[in-house]
Amino acid sequence: MVAWTDAERKAIQDIWGKLKPAAGQKLFTIARIPCLIVYPWTQRYFSSFGSLSDAAAIKSNKKVAAHGEVVLKGLGLAVKNMDNIKATYAPLSVLHSEKLHVDPDNFRLLGDCFTIVVAAHLGRAFTADIQAAWQKFVAVVIAALAKQYH
């Protein structure tokens, strides 16, 4: 069981509040760009998505945008169930392992990229304490996603 301080809960809910509206999905698409460019081997999971050859292609790719929405919904689940992310994510973990065959190391890469994008979006409001809380949340999400791999 993960223990969250009140400050950490507030930080996560605050960040989520700023990401949730349409901006959030756009943001995730934007996070996808760095991830697919900075770690190009992650493109292996999106071979059916069409052209991902450069930032412009990724930005205008409708499948990437749609996928961004799917992933953001998943993150929202974690935000709503902060005290039980492991159980909440069990089916998602099985999906990523058994059906999607995603190497869990990719979760960490995307997590880092997303953190950097969130930082750019929030600017100075993304203080050291808030970054720490956010990264703790991301780490818990990643652990839960990797839990059902065997």
Partner: protein, 143 residues
């Protein structure tokens, strides 16, 4: 994943933009590392004040970022350029090399915050590769 000519050009160009602010950047990156990854505090038990923005953090942030600046200057031969620093980290400081990745991440976060327009995905990838190469060169003398 070695640095291409393009990577080096991007890194040098970006560094020129951020060089005037290395004291702020260094302080911010180090603060985030100490707060977000408390295990890194073990290397600074001799400091009086490990809180974000303390005089010691600010001073050391500048030292570290100046080191990265040195690496930019010797980007064509990091192994030799960072020999002295590698020996320092290996034999005196004995910092576990896993921590280089942590500080690199914190530095990228700070750069994204402070330079939102310049820190494009292309700059991000070149800087990420560069910091990885620096970490490798710093680890050279460890064993």
């Amino acid at each position: 994943m070695s640095l291409t000519a393009k990577d080096k050009e991007v890194v040098k160009g970006f560094w020129a933009k951020i060089a005037p602010k290395i004291e702020d950047i260094g302080e911010d990156a180090l603060s985030r590392m100490l707060v977000g990854y408390p295990q890194t505090k073990t290397y600074f038990s001799h400091w009086k004040d490990l809180s974000p923005g303390s005089a010691e953090v600010r001073k050391h942030g500048k030292v570290v970022l100046s080191g990265v600046g040195e690496a930019v200057k010797t980007i064509d031969d990091l192994t030799n350029g960072l020999l002295r620093l590698s020996e320092l980290h290996a034999f005196q400081l004995r910092v576990d090399p896993a921590n280089f990745k942590i500080l690199s991440h914190c530095l990228l976060v700070v750069l994204a915050i402070k330079f939102p327009d310049d820190f494009t995905p292309e700059v991000h990838v070149s800087m990420d590769k560069f910091l990885g190469a620096v970490a490798l060169a710093l680890s050279e003398k460890y064993r």
